[in-house]
């Protein structure tokens, strides 16, 4: 009888923990709801142009849950590396024994200046992930590579490694969404809209802090949309 009680108690605890986590899933979208972009899939971007994306990764940091304007939970991790093309890296998980009530989420896109000057980090912020510039300290906030028919580079390739944590080209962005408190959220990133800006800029290789990187980082933040059930 006692064993059964302990078993039931442990089971209840596990159930509570499982329900007290928040998962935010990120997908690359072409703008129309539910149209998920897959890795290396050719997509029409206009009457004449098309593109395919081979690498799409970015950092999410400083995640906070708010309730009626007050912070009720701050993520203890300094950064999450998100890869919407890989199922296991496409989600951000916040796990707490008890998740508080919340109606708003704030997050950073990229890695902020405080973390960027704080020396080497482990896990998602480990420099081995190819998201850290070794020649100039700082994280690559957003990395998108692939081919675009409008690109003037050989094989129509493009390389966008956008980053900079300070100065006039600071690429770190913050976002806030009003949400209905729930355990699973989905965020779609409209990459076709983002590429419209890239097509206008006409610089297909950005791999260091510069004005265009800051501009494209702002556009990237505008491409985020929470999908409410």
């Amino acid at each position: 009888m006692r064993i059964l009680f302990v078993f039931l108690f442990a089971f209840t605890l596990l159930q509570t923990k499982a329900s007290d986590s928040l998962s935010i899933a990120f997908t690359a979208s072409s703008g129309k709801p539910g149209t998920k972009i897959q890795r290396n899939q050719w997509i029409k971007t206009g009457a004449h142009d098309s593109l395919r994306i081979s690498d799409f990764r970015f950092y999410i940091s400083n995640v906070q849950l708010l309730h009626q304007g007050k912070i009720v939970l701050t993520d203890s991790l300094e950064g999450h590396l998100i890869n919407p093309f890989q199922a296991e890296q496409s989600k951000l998980m916040l796990s707490k024994p008890r998740l508080p009530e919340f109606d708003e989420i704030k997050l950073g896109i990229g890695i902020d200046s405080l973390t960027s000057v704080d020396g080497p980090k482990s896990n998602d912020l480990d420099p081995i992930h190819g998201m850290y510039w070794t020649w100039q300290s700082g994280y690559i906030n957003l990395r998108i590579e692939g081919q675009h028919s409008a690109s003037t580079l050989s094989d129509n390739e493009f390389f966008f490694h956008l980053g900079a944590y300070a100065g006039p080209f600071n690429c770190y962005q913050t976002l806030s969404f009003k949400v209905n408190a729930q355990n699973q959220l989905a965020i779609e990133i409209n990459l076709l809209d983002w590429f419209k800006e890239a097509e206008q800029i006409k610089v297909w290789k950005i791999m260091s802090p510069r004005r265009e990187a800051a501009q494209l980082s702002k556009t990237f933040a505008r491409a985020f949309r929470v999908i409410q059930p």
């Binding site: 080497p120 980090k121 420099p127 070794t134 100039q136 100065g167 004005r211």
Partner: protein, 343 residues
């Protein structure tokens, strides 16, 4: 009463622990130096971690072809720079485009490299390891190689209490060795601490130095750490814009971090591109020059007579620290590389 006794015991224990930590720290701030900028909080600078960092510093396995270690360009006998070439000499006889900087008193630096590209000493080693003309490696592959070595596995275990070897631990171990490279035992230091005195020539040189050079090469570290244009212009073969390439600000064009003048006699060649082999060439360059500093102020250096140049040179030689140069604690760690596995 019992509570009070417990608190007193706790206080005593914490103080003993604190003292042990302090005694074990291999970093010592010289009395006449300012507070260091390096964030020591939460980091270890104890003998085991420093040994691990020193081993990594001298290990050619950090380069793609096992030929080049950090010490290849930063030899202890030239105050941790090298004298062979104008610019650094990497794997497969490749040249970089800058003179490898001397390494000492790094705990006081706000940023690293001639252009300040590196913002924290703990990430500095990433740059040469991953540079195609220096060590040509990837951090991931270096970690793989280190994990294969029983010596490293054993030492990482001793230092960190488990066998995890990752880039954060590797990099922080290297920097724990680098912060111990404190050079503060030159004749100048002894004079400042009232343990010695300058001869007449050195004293004249010191006066000339204070009147002409101290604005940028500020005592006692002999650098302001600012980025300045010293008027030597750009070499066509390197087309090196200096700080501007990092800040993106055209105003920073041809500005480089002011180097320390300590150990100057051992750190030739001079300037960011190593174009000057001799100290007298440096003195000739600055003699009678007027420069505009980054803050907009102008600095005029007097035209030195031949006698004044000799006096100035005598003072600059008093900045050499041979104790630092020959300190075995900074040299190749035989005790690590020649150690045998325990039975």
């Amino acid at each position: 009463m019992k509570k009070l006794k417990f608190l007193l015991l706790l206080a005593c224990l914490s103080s003993i622990m604190g003292m042990r930590q302090l005694q074990d720290s291999l970093f010592k701030k010289p009395a006449h130096f300012p507070e260091p900028k390096y964030a020591f909080k939460g980091k270890r600078v104890d003998s085991l971690q420093v040994l691990l960092g020193r081993a990594l510093f001298y290990d050619e396995a950090l380069s793609i072809d096992f030929t080049t270690s950090c010490a290849s360009c930063h030899s202890p006998f030239s105050a941790f720079t090298h004298n062979d070439h104008e610019v650094s000499h990497g794997i497969q006889d490749r040249f970089g485009k800058r003179n490898s900087p001397a390494l000492f008193n790094l705990a006081w630096q706000p940023y690293y490299m001639w252009d300040g590209a590196i913002n924290n000493l703990d990430v500095q080693a990433l740059a040469p390891i991953n540079h195609p003309d220096e060590m040509g490696e990837s951090t991931e592959h270096v970690l793989k190689k280190i994990k294969h070595s029983w010596r490293y596995r054993s030492l990482f275990n001793k230092v960190y209490g488990d066998t995890l070897i990752n880039s954060e631990r590797m990099l922080k171990s290297i920097s724990s060795f680098l912060v111990t490279l404190v050079s503060a035992e030159s004749k100048y230091d002894r004079v400042m601490l009232k343990k010695d005195s300058f001869n007449l020539q050195e004293q004249n040189g010191y006066t000339l130095f204070k009147n002409n050079c101290n604005t940028c090469h500020t005592e006692p570290l002999f650098t302001s750490f600012n980025f300045e244009n010293n008027g030597i212009g750009m070499l066509e073969k390197y087309r090196d814009l200096g700080r501007a390439a990092i800040s993106g600000d055209p105003q920073d064009s041809l500005r480089f971090k002011v180097p320390s003048l300590r150990n100057l006699e051992f750190t030739y060649p001079y300037m960011h591109d190593g174009r000057m082999q001799k100290l007298y060439q440096v003195l000739d360059h600055y003699s009678g020059i007027t420069l505009q500093k980054a803050d907009g102020t102008k600095v005029s250096v007097q035209k030195f007579s031949p006698e004044e140049k000799v006096d100035l040179m005598a003072f600059l030689l008093a900045l050499g620290d041979r104790t630092f140069l020959y300190a075995t604690k900074n040299q190749f760690p035989k005790e690590f590389f020649f150690s045998q596995p325990m039975e």
